[in-house]
Each structure stands twice: as C-alpha cells, then as structure tokens.
Symmetry: C2
Subunit: 140 residues, 2 copies
C-alpha cells in the first residue's frame, strides 16, 4: 500500500569545506533505484502549482537545489505537506502518491532523480482516476 | 585523444509554460552514458576555486541549476573556459580533461551527472601527474 508516511526525507551525504558544499547521491547505494532520468524545474512563478499527478511505478528523489517549495503528498486517504529547502535533504516519493508542488521561493530549482525513462503510461493525471486506482488496490 | 574541443555544450530538452520551465536528461538518450552518480555543489564562496583534477575514464554532464560559474578546461595542450549560467544548457566533459571551477555567482548550484560510481582510482589530482599521463598517451 502506498501511504504518505512512506514518503521519507533522506539526509544526503555531504562534504563541507572552505570552498563550499557538495552533496552526493549514488544510484543503488544512497537511493534504492537506478537513475534513468534527471529533470530540473525552475523559473517558477511564486503563485504557480506544479505537478498534480501520480505514478504507477516510478520512484523519485526530490531535492531543492536552490530556494524552497512545498510538496503536498496525497495517498487518497491522507494529505501531508513537506517543505524542501536544503540541497542536502531529499524526499523519496514512491508510486501511488499524488503530488503537487507549491509556494515556490524566488530562484527555486527542484532537481528530480527518477528510476525510469519517461513513460506517459506511468502517469495518472486525473485525480478521480487516481482515487479509483487506490480504491481498486492497484498500489497494494 | 582528449581535447578541450571535445568538451561540448548540449541544449537540454526543455518545456516552458506559464508554470515555469523543466529541463530533462534521460540516461543513454540525451547523454551517451548511464547516470550512476549525481552530485550538487553549492554554498560556494565567490572567491573559491573548486575541482582541480582530471578523470581517467569518468564522463560527466555539468549543469548550472542556479546562478553561474566558469569551468576552465585543460587538456595539457590548450585551455578553454566555458561559462555555465542556464539550466537548459549542459557541458559534457570526458576523461583526460583537467577542470577547475571559478567565478561563482551568489547562489550558484552546479549539478553533475556522472557515468560511474565514485572511484578514487579514477581521479588524477596532481597536475604534473596529469601532464605526464597525457604525454604517455593514456587518454589517446
């Protein structure tokens, strides 16, 4: 079963010195999946809401590379909102979670590491269809 | 042979709408390698110089997720400086290239997609050893 409680924050391995900071994610080591796709979301108006979909099987790590924003997670039973604001903290989101992004700060940049290549069939873009899928137990 | 001319900028597939921009990199499709490791460099003092090493076999894509900085590329024969300042442009750097990062703007964040897991044996951290390796033709 996919629950909002299963989405979890991870502390990303980081090295800090006088030249700045570096945070490192190795596929299969720091996160339990391969990295087939990476995307960056940026230039987001502060009043915009992004995402609004769920995935059938995709797993993702969300990182605030710059700025801050809220991630609202929805498993069709409960809602949970997580604020991302540091590049050394990531949010793991599994399948069966409806997510919306909002409250973007200026200069926010979201970096997402995704377990699969793009596949439109993996997206559920309609919330009623998402609730129906949860009720049918397809994420159990 | 590894030459600074072989390092090249790529235009990253991007989608822009009223909610902002998204730039997407799929491993093996948009870049000619798997993504085994991702790292983010940030909180960099404007007077800092980072990197200062070459790789024996690692391939990387550098992206300015936020802010701007210069990448100085050195193949032991020629120098070339590339400025990265947009999340929809990436710089591919192959093996046998000494690289230094400098002139960081405030809030700069470099995202690197790397072809291999971390391996200290892949790093050449001494410039004289790098020049010797080039002279020996190990990157040819």
């Amino acid at each position: 079963m996919s629950r909002v409680e299963d989405c979890h924050l991870i502390e990303i391995r980081s090295v800090l010195d006088h030249r700045g900071a570096i945070s490192i994610i190795e596929a299969g080591l720091d996160i339990p999946f391969a990295i087939k796709r990476v995307y960056l979301t940026y230039d987001i108006p502060s009043n915009a809401t992004r995402a609004g979909h769920a995935h059938r099987s995709l797993r993702q790590l969300y990182i605030a590379a710059s700025g801050a924003f809220d991630v609202r997670l929805d498993d069709a039973r409960a809602l949970r909102t997580v604020t991302l604001r540091r590049p050394d903290i990531g949010l793991i989101i599994g399948p069966g979670i409806w997510r919306e992004l909002m409250n973007f700060s200026s200069n926010a940049c979201l970096v997402v590491l995704a377990s699969e290549h793009y596949d439109e069939n993996d997206y559920i873009r309609d919330h009623a269809a998402f609730r129906a899928a949860v009720a049918e137990g397809i994420f159990d």
